[in-house]
Amino acid sequence: MNSYDESNSIFRRLFSYAKPYRGFLIAALISSLISVTLSLLIPIYIGKAVDYIIGPGDVNYQGVLDIIIYLAVFIGGSTVFQWLMSYSTNKITFLTIKDLRSRVFDKLNIVPFENIDRTPHGNIINTMVNDIDIISDGLLQGFTQLFSGLMTILGTIGFMLSINLGIGILVVVLTPLSLFVASSIARRTYSKFTEQTQIRGEMGGLIEELLGNQKLVKTYSYEDRAYERFKEVNDRLHKVGVMAQFYSSLTNPSTRFVNGIVYAAVGILGAFSAISGNISIGQLTSFLSYANQYTKPFNEISGVITELQSALASAKRVFALIDMEAESSDEELISQVESDGRVKLTDVAFSYVKDKPLIEGLNIDVKPGSRIAIVGPTGSGKTTVINLLMRFYDVDQGKIEVSGVDVLDMQRKALRSMYGMVLQETWLFEGTVRENIAYGKENVSEEEIMDAAKAAYAHSFIKRLPNGYDTIITQDGGNLSQGQRQLLSIARVMLLKPPMLILDEATSNIDTRTEIRIQKAFAKLMKGRTSFVVAHRLSTIRESDTILVMDQGSIIEQGNHEELLSKEGFYHNLYNSQFHITRA
């Protein structure tokens, strides 16, 4: 019952999204009602026509002609309304889906970062694209199919009963048979299909793992063992695949058989009734037409129900995304702060996970124009500091003040506009080089863009790209090296001339020459600006006013280079192991 209630509420909620388009929904339902009714009238009139065609010399042409005119009207009407139904259904489906996608996307832009950091992006994208498509196929289109299917069944039964009660009742009695057959096949198929899907998933994972790392497979001569593992899964897939396919392919012949039984029963009983004069041959014809098509809507409905189930599961995932809690609203807060370059952290405490304290009692007082280096081993929590400064995450305790204003009292936009940020993992979107540089600022002139690129030492390589500033950066940025990507991100910040900076030096994979350019660009950028640098280069670290040494999430030492060295603590060791000569 509980799951029924749940499905019910998901269903309702989904239809609430279709509400703005209810005109189309109503049009679809009415069209379906009309077209089904008209198309069900056709067999009756065919039957009537047959009754005018009895034998040689016994054909009532006028009667046949009259009926043909009626039929032509029915056919025409049904055709038009069938089209109208499909059209309205399509329209409502795709408009609803569009809204649903927009809603998800809007939400993604206002959720707190932990949602984005913790949910695998593949899952979100899958929900955005595939789940919502499944909803369109299953729930929305399925709904009209279900409706017209039910209408057809009820209409057929009604018309049959009205022509002849006895034969009508016979068909009604036989109905559960087709329901029973369809559902018992569906049940068996379902369990086999689930098993098949699961093994397919297993196989997908295995090939992704092995083929994705084929180099390792070859290095360690693992080919034969890999093949054995593949074959084992493949054999299991074969076994269950044969059964799944076999069971599912039984639906058609079985319902055809049930149809055959209904057809034969109607034929025999109808013939008896005709012999005793209860019905005409034309009416028998109508019955036979009905019987011929009778199980079709049942097949369709059982198909729709399976689709409905998977659509409900998809809808659940979509709503889970839409229901994610948004960041607190900040419209009421201070919208602009004049930056003087001061940043002050007082007793800051923060952790990603409730019972795993990370940063505790952090105090930093940053004077305007000074440089703060953050150093420490990988995974020691250097990016956490950036997360807090930019308010990607909020502090648990204590406060951060910028230019004397608590960051919680200003709009996020106001805070973030004071910083220029260049991360190690550069982000470029698919667009031209120019668009990527101009990302942070609207209505910039060509000259400004070039100046920024020149200042970031990016101009010379951009000029050498196939289309210069109009070169399209591909999705993974594969046509640029990592260093070049970082130079573009620097140019992006150069263009804005922000009062403060957050920089993340790249650890590796940048060739020497580009690296020299990046360092120069960084130096130029930092001049006179308050800067926070996640630092790997000794030169950057040495020239910093304050060095924060982090280990396992917390700041364990703080001071300038000389002070820290003389302490002979963690920094001292770090410095020696990193920059002194050791035997390989």
């Binding site: 065919i46 065609i53 009895i54 034998g55 040689p56 010399g57 054909v59 032509a72 056919i75 055709t79 038009v80 089209w83 399509n90 795709f94 408009l95 996608r101 927009s102 996307f105 993604l108 832009n109 984005i116 955005m128 694209v129 997908g204 090939i207 083929l211 084929q214 070859k218 360690y220 076999f246 012949p253 079985s254 058989f257 057809y263 013939a271 012999i275 037409s289 081993p377 990988t378 930019m390 991360l423 982000w427 698919e430 942070g440 999705q475 090296s481 990592q482 260093g483 590796s508 940048i510 060739d511 020497t512 690296e515 360092q519 060791n573 990193q578 920059f579 050791t582 035997r583 390989a584």
Partner: protein
């Protein structure tokens, strides 16, 4: 598509029995309207209840037999198509395993995975349909036309007009709408791309407060998808009503002209009803034929992709006369190989020697490595340094023969690489690459990946040298602890240490560390190096790095720049003589 048909020869029985029984079922189905016509024309006219019952019984029997035949056919189809798919998958996977990196790079892993899964499934479906419907649907159409011709040749003209007309309508609608579907898919890809960009770039987007801009960008793409879907909907919405209209108008024609024929006495009332029945049967069958066309079009595209993989041969191949097993070569009396084994054990020969080696990636005109020569002696520690694109990783890839050199020669222990079998060549190496890749399975499983029969002691020792003992033994189930796919339940540093242990457990004679201690903190890194130099004295270690300080102490440092070797020697010497090396050092430690 025909090439893959060779796999069907393993399913001769299914491929003949299936369609045959399907054919019988269709024949029975076509007889039913005739029997019903006789019930009306003879049974009812003569008021003969026994006749009606008899004929009714025949219809039931035909239906039942039809069911049995259909079940036989469906079972044959399931066996043949799934069997076909399984065999093609096995063979294709085996074939992919023989390809060298050049071919793998050219296809791309994602493409190969799609071919191995989706494309083969598509073919599988086509085989099933071949057995189930290719006989049935066209036969029902043709059969219905033929039956109607037998009943009344002139009235059957209606069928001869309707069948092509409906086919034409279906064809036109599909022809018009299919390209739109492709466009829609492209638009949908854009929606997914923008979503992906927004997730990966969330920090930058919010840092620049560009959320509104991104939402506008998304809405544009989203609207495009909806617009195109609604447009294509307008076209495809014609399919059902149009076929419905044509078939029913045809029925009107049957009633009118049938009426005339009955009046003339050349047709009976029951036969008119049979005509109407055949018309309904045709409508169902024609839609099926249309779907078949779609399925087979898709399948032939899939078949082309599958065949392309099968037709691609590895450019790196084993020679006929090779050294396949170093341990047992001693037993081989064959003179040449015997001599070579002596050379292998000859301590004097350098373990690796390159002589004027040049190499370009397949499809590229430019050399990735040019004219490289050097010797490495057993037990040496070698550093390779250079910027991105300087050819460091390429050089590493040539040693285990992932690619073949274009010019020059590489020898291991004095023997050219292509004289070894792949297995025997690769047992020389333990390679730790930049990306720490682990497989799903236990810690031990991951180590046994490189050495099938490694004992627990071997594993423990490797783990200890790799500085992973502390954390592995703290894991809930120690060495039997499960690692998730990609090693997501371990930290970067932990993953890296296990990959190092994996390379160590096979006791390689050459250990290659490709920028592979980046995720380790300095203290651990130092301990690791110490353990390696202490425990693997005889092992040749090749370290690739961008950082000068990590290779400073190497016996030889090889400096690469833009595919060329610009220096070789010890640190002090290179710092004095090699500009590029000095530039690298100065940029990092200054």
């Amino acid at each position: 598509m025909l090439k893959l048909a060779r796999y069907l020869k393993y399913f001769k029985k299914e491929v003949t029995i299936g369609p045959f029984f399907k054919f019988l079922e269709a024949v029975f189905e076509l007889i039913v309207p005739l029997v019903m016509a006789s019930i009306i024309d003879i049974g009812i006219k003569n008021r003969d209840s026994t006749y009606v019952l008899q004929r009714g019984g025949i219809i039931l029997l035909l239906g039942f037999m039809g069911l049995i035949f259909a079940i036989i056919c469906q079972y044959s189809a399931a066996r043949a198509s799934q069997g076909f798919g399984t065999m093609v998958r096995n063979d294709l996977y085996k074939h992919i395993n023989t390809l060298s990196h050049g071919e793998l790079d050219a296809f791309g892993t994602d493409t190969l995975i799609t071919i191995l899964t989706n494309d083969i499934n598509q073919m599988q479906l086509a085989v099933a349909m071949l057995i189930r419907l290719v006989v049935r649907a066209p036969f029902l159409v043709i059969g219905a036309v033929v039956m109607s011709m037998i009943l009344d040749l002139r009235l059957s003209l209606i069928f001869l007009i309707v069948a092509p007309l409906v086919s034409l309508v279906i064809y036109i609608i599909m022809k018009l709408s299919v390209p739109y579907y492709r466009v829609r898919q492209r638009m949908l890809d854009r929606v997914s791309r923008i979503t992906r960009e927004n997730l990966s770039g969330a920090r930058v987007i919010r840092a620049f407060s560009k959320q509104d801009h991104e939402i506008r960008r998304f809405n544009e793409a989203n609207n495009d998808v909806a617009d195109i879907a609604i447009n294509v909907g307008k076209i495809s919405a014609f399919l059902n009503p149009a076929t419905f209209a044509i078939l029913n108008v045809a029925i009107l024609a049957i009633l009118w002209f049938g009426g005339i024929r009955v009046d003339l006495g050349s047709l009976t009332q029951g036969e008119v009803i049979a005509f109407v029945n055949y018309m309904t049967q045709i409508s169902v069958a024609l839609v099926v034929v249309a779907n078949l066309v779609v399925i087979f079009t898709k399948a032939s595209a899939s078949a082309r992709r599958i065949n392309k993989v099968f037709d691609t041969m590895s450019s790196v191949t084993e020679k006929d006369k090779i050294i396949s097993d170093i341990q047992s070569t001693e037993n081989q009396i064959n003179g040449v190989i015997k001599d070579r084994y002596d050379e292998i054990s000859n301590e004097e020969e350098p373990i690796v020697s390159l002589n004027k080696v040049s190499f370009a990636y397949p499809g590229s005109d430019e050399y990735a490595l040019e004219d490289i020569s050097f010797d490495i002696n057993e037990g040496e520690v070698i550093g390779i340094i250079g910027g991105t694109g300087s050819g460091k990783s390429t050089l590493i890839n040539l040693l285990p023969r992932f690619y073949d050199v274009d010019k020059g020669e590489i020898k291991i222990k004095g023997i050219p690489l292509n004289q070894y079998s792949f297995d025997s060549l690769r047992t020389f190496f333990g390679i730790v690459s930049q990306k720490s890749v682990l497989f799903s399975g236990s810690v031990s499983d991951n180590l046994r990946f490189s050495k099938k029969d490694a004992s627990l002691d071997d594993i423990k020792k490797a783990i200890e040298i790799a500085q992973a003992k502390d954390f592995v033994e703290k894991l809930p189930e120690g060495y039997a602890s499960q690692i998730n796919q990609g090693g997501r339940n371990l930290s970067g540093g932990q993953r890296q240490r296990i990959t190092i242990a994996r390379a160590l457990v096979r006791n390689p004679r050459i250990l290659i560390l490709d920028d592979s201690s980046s995720a380790l903190d300095y203290a651990t890194d130092a301990r690791l190096r110490e353990a390696i130099s202490k425990n693997l004295e005889d092992t040749t270690v090749i370290m690739v790095s961008q950082r000068a300080n990590s290779i400073k102490n190497a016996d030889q440092i090889i400096v690469l720049d833009d595919g060329k070797m610009v220096g070789i020697g010890k640190h002090d010497e290179l710092y004095r003589t090699c500009n590029i090396y000095r530039e690298i050092c100065d940029s990092q430690v200054s």
